[in-house]
């Protein structure tokens, strides 16, 4: 009897839970304009940050995300980072169907707790607690909440109401409260095109953005934080894993970094100091000294990922790096700085955003960046040293770190400087060579390729490929020629000038294509550019050409005997605001031609409308790169 009652009550329970419907969460209430280009929509993002003291911050987040399709699933993923100093509390998640009916409550054990390391990391104290929902159908809505308690007020989360692409935002609200004895510095970026409510009052900063449409991703567009709104915050008194700080400006901030994170971490063993002294013996020029020290460091160390120390911000002791011969970017930068100190050369620890070109926001003194390099002042050009790369030439910065604002930390405080930027013509590639076509259409060729500037960066690692990979690489490089048979590969990286030189010789059957007595030969054998951007209808985002470059080719062509030229292209020049393309063919003799090609691409920011013209330009280049000459067999042979 009892049994029956029990099961009845459980039926009742489930009956009720089935009908716990929240109309607000139903997809019917989403305006159509927010569905356009959206894989998911943030129905609500409510971030409440309470700083109760310089070393106590509570982050409370409520998120409601409706996902429309498979590509939007990741927008509904819950990812919570924490470490030894912070704690995640009160996390929960509920899933609703399209009508707003609750269909699942995520259990605590369904959240997975893993190390945040990916790839080989010797140690990583950051951890991730995450949940990824597997939907039965679309659309669905996920609502989640969590709270993180942390003493690290040095990292106040930014407000980024539109996060990336193809995700619209119905409402995003951010509230930061702080006590009287703390001042919050903040900067608002890209607010112009958005209607953002500011409800800030005394001791509270508050922003709300409603009904922001999804932005469609379009290739060759600027970095998303260059046009999407966000606010960055910094407390004038803060805390970072055991260390208090105070800073109103970069001078003070740099000073704090120097005093608390760097100072005193540069002790080296006597033996190493002596070694350095001997190494630079007799050399007075500080840059020449730095060159020798850099080479010493490159030979002695290697990069290993280690996320340890205060929030990953304090470098390992120089002494430890000396003993172990490895370290992460902070450790190797600090170590190189210590070595330079032993050589009586000044240098400064520098914080930078590596990879995607991005500036340290210079109008807000705060913890920023994701990488460290070293700056050596010089009367001529400032020298920047990348200490995690054991192959790159002294003072060379490639597209990982070039042309951006960085924070240079000196004992006198922090300074914002700009790293080396290459002009379009400095990013140069020169091809000189010669090829011969025989009477059967076979080609045999020799080419010398020299790369400079960021084009050096694209190529120098070829030197370390094993012979098989090198062969594969060149077959891919000359992919427009089939059945390529490589005869010789010599590559050389000049570490002094950062010039990479490749000497390649090869042959291939049937390069010239026969049609009866005629043979068609693509005149440009070495450098066919097939980089044609795809067509985009109604482009919205500006076009950005991140790097400009200059390619110059000069090739001698030996034609087969018993053939004569029937037709060949004239000189062609294409001039646009994106750059210049020019080819010409000069007849040296009946049997010999000289082909010249020049392509200059100018970096820069262009409008969305310019995209179509840029595409046209690229198409034209591709077409002209495929120009052919027609040879015809002599009648009497």
């Amino acid at each position: 009897m009892k049994k029956i009652i029990l099961s009845l009550s459980s039926i009742l329970l489930s009956f009720f839970s089935v009908f716990s419907q929240d109309l607000e969460l139903s997809v019917l209430s989403i305006p159509d304009s927010l569905k356009e280009n959206a894989n998911a929509i943030i129905r609500l993002e409510d971030t409440k940050i309470d700083i109760s003291s310089s070393s106590k911050m509570t982050i409370h987040k409520t998120m409601i995300v409706t996902v429309f399709n498979k590509k939007g699933d990741s927008d509904g993923y819950i990812t919570m980072y924490y470490d030894d100093h912070s704690k995640i509390k009160n996390y929960s998640a509920l899933i609703y169907n399209s009508l707003g009916v609750e269909i699942k409550k995520v259990k605590n054990k369904e959240f997975k707790d893993i190390s945040a390391a990916n790839g080989f990391s010797l140690y990583e104290d950051n951890r991730v607690l995450y949940y990824r929902h597997v939907p039965q159908s679309y659309p669905y809505t996920i609502k989640y909440e969590y709270e993180i308690n942390t003493p690290n007020t040095a990292f106040i989360p930014k407000w980024i109401p539109i996060n990336g692409f193809n995700e619209s935002t119905q409402k995003s609200k951010y509230t930061l409260t702080y006590p009287d004895d703390i001042a919050i510095n903040f900067r608002e970026y890209n607010f112009d095109d958005y209607c953002i409510e500011n409800n800030s009052s005394e001791n509270t900063l508050s922003y709300t953005l409603k009904n922001a449409k999804a932005i469609k991703y379009e290739n060759r567009s600027p970095f998303y934080l260059d046009f999407e709104p966000y606010v960055q915050f910094a407390a004038n008194k803060f805390h970072l894993a055991g260390v208090d700080g105070k800073a109103e400006n970069w001078t003070e901030f740099g000073n704090w970094m120097y005093q608390n994170l760097l100072k005193g971490r540069d002790e080296l063993p006597e033996a190493t100091k002596v070694e350095i002294k001997n190494l630079i013996n007799g050399i007075d020029d500080p840059i020449e000294r730095a060159r020798l020290v850099y080479d010493y460091m490159q030979k002695k160390t290697r990069y290993i990922s280690i996320q340890i120390g205060i929030g990953g911000w304090k470098p390992m002791l120089a002494d430890d790096v000396d003993r172990l011969g490895y370290g992460d970017c902070k450790a190797l930068t600090n170590y190189t700085q210590s070595l330079l100190k032993a050589a009586d050369v000044h240098s400064y620890y520098t914080i930078i955003y590596a990879d995607t070109k991005r500036n340290i926001n210079n109008d807000l003194a705060s913890i920023q960046g994701n990488h460290a390099i070293l700056m050596v002042p010089s009367q001529k050009d400032t020298v920047w040293l990348e200490c995690t790369n054991q192959k790159v030439p002294f003072g060379y910065l490639g597209n990982f770190t070039d042309d951006r604002d960085v924070l240079v930390v000196t004992p006198e405080g922090g300074k914002i400087l700009h790293t080396k930027s290459y002009s379009d013509t400095e990013n140069k590639q020169l091809i000189t060579g010669e090829y011969s076509i025989d009477i059967n259409g076979n080609i045999s060729a020799k080419a010398k390729i020299e790369s400079y500037g960021v084009q050096y960066d694209d190529n120098y690692s070829i030197a370390d490929m094993d012979p098989k990979d090198k062969e594969t690489y060149y077959k891919e490089f000359f992919k427009n020629i089939n059945n390529l048979n490589i005869e010789g590969i010599t590559v050389k990286s000049d570490d002094k000038t950062a010039v990479f030189t490749e000497d390649i010789s090869f042959n291939a059957g049937n390069y010239g294509v026969f049609s009866g007595d005629r043979m068609l030969v693509r005149i440009n054998a070495f450098n066919v550019n097939d980089n044609v951007p795809k067509r985009i209808r109604n482009r919205k985002l500006p076009l950005e050409i991140k790097y400009g470059y200059l390619d110059k080719d000069e090739v001698i062509i030996n034609l087969p005997e018993k053939f004569q030229i029937e037709a060949m292209a004239n000189e062609k020049t294409v001039e646009t605001k994106f750059g210049t393309y020019k080819i010409s063919i000069e007849k040296i003799s009946e049997q010999q031609l000289k082909y010249s090609r020049k392509l200059l691409i100018k970096h820069g920011n262009y409008t969305a409308n310019d995209y179509d013209d840029y595409r046209k330009f690229r198409k034209k280049i591709n077409q002209l790169d495929n120009s052919k000459i027609v040879l015809v067999r002599n009648k009497n042979s």
Partner: protein
């Protein structure tokens, strides 16, 4: 006389290794090893394992029981910086319930400083513990003070309570191994079988010796009053057991290198698999483990999380009645149930042959499940509907091809329906999979179908029908080289599955853009996709498009490729040699039918000759045929590979087929202007 010399040489060769068969001592590295600049057997190697020694043995602990210990000693030569990655170590430890542990990590880096050998020790504090996830931990370290030419070495011992599980003995890595010595000592209480990899057979020597196992255990002290006190007494015990010894002594094992078009490189790795087949506990009653695939299958079937699940029906009974209500034919019922399960339970991307402990019922209720939960539900529902469906065990591509009959050999399960024409295979985890058209992950090796009474049979999983692409192009060419027209492309079987999987998630805008990109920048005016989700039919793409620059216009002649922008320009098979089979996942073919209307005032001056070539044993073929009728050029082209997998011995034939096919496609049709239009 000749024979004698040959014999002598033979014995010399075989006795030679013994001459320098000195035991490599940990911590003692020779100057010669440090001075070596490159590895003579493979000069491209950035690093080489000079020596690897492994000893695996059993210990008996009075309280813990059997413990499996593995001692490892590895010595690696680093020729240059690109080899330094091989000086890092991540020792993975399983820690669910009983805990694997690693002890006695000792490691040194050896360098040559002038004439002196300098050793740097790996400090204890430079070894880190990482809690990777719930059941896995690892100990991580990387060697200090590396220089070009360094020799690093480490040793450690792993103790594991999972004594029935001896890890595969890996005998080949990304870098060459100069010398490998492995010894496994297994007490007779345990019977392990072993099997070396097929592609690279490793020789295993066996012998037997007698060994005494000592152990300590404690028992409670008996108090005078006959009760039991809190104190315990220590005892020493020993047992004499015969031990099976397995040894592997290999030299100069080459590096294992990835190749394109490969199913899973691990299938070709040199290794030896050890599997337990019997265990005699102290009771003396032996416990037998799997010995044949029949046993394995039977055992899997008997699991609570497998066969037992097939009897759980109450939760879907009502739904099932609704689904098949009114359906009469078997096929209709199969299709209805298959589609129902696909939409009812979504795959959580977990490959497992067993259900989780909550079983198929919970997955059904929640709408989410692993492979077993989904496909066992499918089998159970089909059976309940009176169809003779059974589970088919599969090992996925990533899981590789098992050497041994063990239950670990399978990690996936699908449904199979036996009928007069063979077996119909169904996988409900994949939205766009259809009958006998399984997702690529399941196309590996052979499946094993298990019937209700436990009997089982192998099943061929590879698709019987071609993975096919069929293009019909009909265009009008103008004097400028611009074309305009229609392209209809249909994709069938595996190709269709892949197409739907990749493109169905795209919005219309994105799809147009993708198709334009894929087809050398055509500009699409109109398009339509048929059978987007009707998986039993081919998916068909209709495009109305235009494209500039399709021909070289030189003088009064137009030179154009018969296949226009569909011309294959590059041979995917660029490698000179091939070590491992080329894997396509399915037999495949591509058909092209092209009709080009030429501009007014032009006539065809010449056209490429037709070509038909084929590979030996009818493995593949290529045909192209161009015909001209009045103002129209018609081209028919077909490329066909009749097998899913090709042995490396056919690689040159394959390469040659593609070479000829591609060269032929580069040849031009010449149009010449004959009159003003």
């Amino acid at each position: 006389m000749k024979i004698k010399i040959a014999l002598l040489l033979f014995t010399l060769l075989f006795t030679l290794p013994n001459v320098d068969a000195q035991e490599v001592k940990f911590g003692k590295v020779s100057k010669k090893e440090l001075e070596e600049k490159f590895y003579p057997q493979d000069t491209s190697a950035n690093a080489v394992i000079l020596y690897k020694k492994q000893r695996t043995y059993f210990d008996y602990d009075g309280t813990e029981g059997w413990i499996l210990r593995t001692e490892v000693h590895t010595r690696v030569k680093l020729y240059n910086k690109d080899g330094f990655g091989f000086a890092s170590n991540k020792i993975r430890l399983y820690t669910s319930g009983g805990k694997d542990e690693v002890v006695n990590i000792k490691a040194y880096t050896h360098n040559l400083n002038g004439n002196k050998i300098v050793k740097t020790k790996l400090e204890r504090k430079d070894v880190f513990r990482e809690e990777t996830s719930k059941n896995w931990n690892s100990k991580n370290f990387t060697m200090p003070n590396l220089k070009n030419g360094s020799v690093v070495e480490w040793k450690y011992t792993i103790s594991s309570p999972y004594f029935w599980n001896i890890d595969d003995v890996i005998c080949q890595y990304k870098i060459p191994i100069k010398e490998l010595k492995v010894k496994l000592q297994i007490p007779e209480r345990f019977t392990f079988k072993y099997l070396p990899s097929i592609y690279f057979p490793v020789k295993v020597n066996t012998s037997m010796i007698s060994k005494t196992y000592n152990f300590n255990y404690r028992t409670p002290e008996k108090s005078g009053k006959g009760g039991i006190s809190a104190k315990t007494v220590s005892h020493n015990g020993n047992m004499k057991l015969m031990e099976n010894i397995y040894t592997i002594n290999e030299k100069n094992i080459p590096a294992l290198k990835e190749e394109p078009y490969i199913d899973n490189i691990n299938n070709y790795r040199a290794m030896v698999d050890f599997e337990i087949s019997a265990y005699i506990p102290r009771t003396g009653i032996p416990e037998y483990f799997n010995t044949t695939w029949e046993d394995v299958t039977k055992k899997i079937y008997e699991s609570t999380y497998f066969g037992v699940q097939l009897d759980k029906k109450s939760h879907f009974k009502e739904d099932l009645e609704n689904i098949i209500n009114g359906l009469t034919s078997q096929n209709e019922k199969i299709t209805a149930i298959y589609n129902f399960v696909k939409s009812k339970i979504k795959w959580n991307e977990v490959n497992r042959k067993y259900t989780s402990k909550d079983g198929i019922k919970k997955a059904y209720k929640e709408g989410v499940g692993n492979v077993a939960e989904i496909n066992l539900t499918l089998v159970a529902m089909l059976k309940e509907a009176g169809i003779t469906a059974n589970p088919v065990l599969v090992s996925t591509r990533n899981h590789g091809i098992p050497l041994f009959p063990t239950s670990d050999g399978f990690n996936y399960v699908i449904a199979g329906i036996e009928n007069n024409n063979g077996v119909i295979l169904l996988d409900a985890t994949e939205k766009y999979s259809s009958a006998n058209n399984l997702p690529l992950r399941a196309l590996n090796w052979k499946g094993r179908l298990i019937r209700e009474h436990g009997s089982s049979t192998t099943v061929d999983l590879y698709p019987k029908s071609y993975s096919a692409k069929n293009v019909k192009l009909s265009v009008k060419l103008d004097e400028e080289g611009t074309i305009e027209g229609l392209m209809n492309t249909s994709y069938s079987n595996l190709r269709a599955l892949e197409y739907r999987d990749t493109y169905n998630v795209l919005s219309e805008d994105e799809l147009i853009s993708k198709l334009e990109e894929k087809n050398s920048g055509i500009e699409i005016e109109k398009f339509r996709i048929n059978n987007k989700t009707e998986v039993a039919k081919p998916i068909v793409e209709f495009l109305f498009f235009s494209k500039e620059n399709n021909a070289d216009i030189i003088g009064n002649k137009i030179y154009l490729s018969p296949l226009l922008f569909l011309t294959t320009k590059e041979n995917s098979f660029k490698q000179e040699e091939r070590l491992y089979p080329v894997d396509f996942g399915s037999a495949w073919k591509k058909d092209f039918t092209v009709a080009i209307q030429i501009p007014e005032g032009y006539t065809v001056e010449s056209k490429p000759e037709d070509l038909a070539v084929s590979m030996p044993e009818n493995l593949g073929s290529f045909v192209i045929k161009t015909t001209v009728t009045n103002k129209k050029i018609n081209v028919l082209m077909q490329t066909k590979i009749n097998v899913a997998k090709l042995g490396p011995n056919y690689y040159q034939d394959l390469k040659e087929l593609f070479k000829q096919a591609i060269e032929k496609q580069q040849e031009k049709i010449i149009l010449v202007k004959t009159s003003q239009p």
